[in-house]
């Protein structure tokens, strides 16, 4: 589903942010992307989403190469991205209009757009907020509105950048439930290792633009020798219950 081969990326006049990254994510897989600040997590997601320019042949997202303009145009039909800050993503004056923004861009018929918008809003539990202004929503509601905006496009792949940022514990718990209910391929980037543990089966550890570790989530998140030198900590629930296995994840 996602194939990255020898991807390197540097912002202009800067040192490389990604160095020879190679990875492969299968259809339906839920993968956590963890790493310290500045590891290149967001940059990798932006490259996958076709926002940052990459060399042709380095990335394949469901047979589409984001480096090829015609493929990049078709990419939003297959891949949706939730940004770190929901405010960046909410651009319309009402929640309903904002959620409809993506489907309308895809050129879907009006009836299908309406149905898809209604389903997405219901899925994230924002019924009754359709006519509210997105900027006046709470942090958790904004996150859900942003998620609905992507879900309405029914992408097969979802990239989530720090999805639990700005969320209180209740909203975070709700988000975890939502993520576990979502079908399709998910790549979840962040420092919230507990969220990654509860939503993913596989984890990639990125540091200095390189993939340092790739394996089952619990195996990687248990390894203090891998995490602590990178400013990360073994999730609390793994320290409490070493043999715990959770099955709500995709």
């Amino acid at each position: 589903m996602i194939q990255v081969t020898g991807l390197s990326f540097a912002y202009s006049a800067g040192s490389p942010v990604l160095r020879d990254v190679s990875l492969s994510i299968l259809s339906g897989e839920s993968v956590g992307l963890i790493g310290p600040n500045g590891a290149g997590k967001t940059t990798l997601l932006l490259c996958l989403a076709g926002v940052l320019p990459v060399a042709p042949g380095r990335i394949l997202v469901g047979q589409l190469d984001p480096a090829i303009p015609s493929d990049r145009t078709r990419l939003p039909q297959r891949l949706g991205m939730i940004f770190q800050n929901s405010d960046d993503q909410l651009i319309h004056p009402t929640v309903e209009e904002d959620v409809a923004f993506g489907p309308l861009n895809l050129g879907w018929p009006e009836v299908v757009v309406r149905q898809s918008v209604a389903e997405a809003i219901q899925r994230v539990g924002l019924q009754g907020s359709e006519q509210r202004t997105p900027w006046h929503l709470s942090g958790g509601e904004k996150r859900r509105a942003a998620l609905a905006g992507v879900l309405a496009m029914q992408p097969e792949i979802m990239l989530l950048d720090e999805p639990s940022m700005f969320l209180d514990p209740r909203a975070r718990k709700e988000l975890i439930r939502l993520l576990n209910d979502l079908p399709g391929t998910k790549l979840i980037a962040g420092h919230d290792l507990d969220l990654v543990l509860q939503t993913c089966r596989r984890t990639l550890l990125l540091d200095g633009g390189k993939i340092i570790a790739d394996g089952p989530c619990e195996d990687i998140l248990r390894r203090a020798d891998l995490l602590e030198p990178r400013g990360l900590e073994v999730p609390f629930r793994l320290r409490l219950s070493p043999d715990r296995v959770h099955d709500s994840r995709a």
Partner: protein
């Protein structure tokens, strides 16, 4: 972080339910008609009519009071001149100028207070306006808000660290740096917004969820507004026409 001018709060009214395409054309024609008004009495009548139009649109009072305050600052020199100027030194022209300014302000306010920006853009687009100006209108609206939001953040951060503006060299320097930071941060944020839009398939064309549809009431409202404005202008010029007539 949102402020009252981020998005005009729009309450349901006969003006807000009016198809934006008919509304734009009607307001345009009404404004053109009122440029023909010459007499103080007719201008005052038009101002009163525009005020009634504005109030009937149920504008948000907080939003409106801010704009009235701004407009009052503009009108203040006119009032001050009228109070201090000697007799027969062009007061009539000043009054007409002030009335005209108030008229256009009230008309513009009644339009903005009752029409969402994206509906205006969609209507302009369907009236044949090229995509670039329409896109610019929407983007400007969005980025003005964005810069404002960024400025509020910077101000809060400065205040939280004890900054108080005083007319000193250091304060001017700090304010200058904050302004530079504002534009850099706003530019950075604007790029993120643009990236988020691209990720959702945006290709430069805005599409609305509710495509405009003309109803009988839209046409009736059109003729009402244009008719009243045209009647005022015609009545004001009646004496001139009577002179021309044989």
């Amino acid at each position: 972080m949102a402020s009252s001018w981020d998005i005009t709060p729009i309450h349901s009214s006969w003006l807000s339910r009016w198809d934006a395409r008919w509304k734009i054309v009607a307001y345009g024609l009404a404004m053109i008609s009122t440029t023909w008004l010459r007499s103080d009495a007719m201008l005052a009548l038009a101002v009163a009519g525009a005020a009634i139009l504005l109030l009937s649109g149920r504008p948000d009072w907080g939003w409106l009071s801010q704009r009235i305050a701004t407009m009052s600052v503009f009108l203040l020199p006119f009032v001050a001149y009228l109070l201090v100027a000697p007799q027969n030194s062009g007061q009539g022209e000043w009054i007409r100028l002030a009335l005209r300014a108030a008229l256009y302000f009230l008309l513009a306010a009644s339009f903005v207070a009752t029409t969402r920006v994206h509906l205006t853009a969609a209507a302009l687009s369907s009236l044949g306006m090229p995509p670039l100006p329409t896109r610019l209108l929407l983007m400007t609206h969005r980025y003005v808000w964005l810069i404002r939001d960024q400025w509020q953040r910077i101000r809060t951060a400065m205040k939280a660290r004890g900054f108080q503006f005083r007319p000193s060299r250091r304060c001017w320097r700090t304010t200058g740096l904050a302004a530079a930071t504002l534009f850099l941060a706003a530019e950075d944020r604007a790029q993120r917004v643009a990236a988020a839009m691209r990720c959702r398939g945006f290709n430069g064309r805005f599409r609305g969820m509710h495509p405009p549809q003309t109803r009988g009431s839209d046409v009736a409202k059109f003729f009402l507004l244009v008719g009243v404005a045209a009647a005022l202008a015609a009545f004001d010029r009646m004496d001139a026409w009577l002179e021309i007539l044989p």
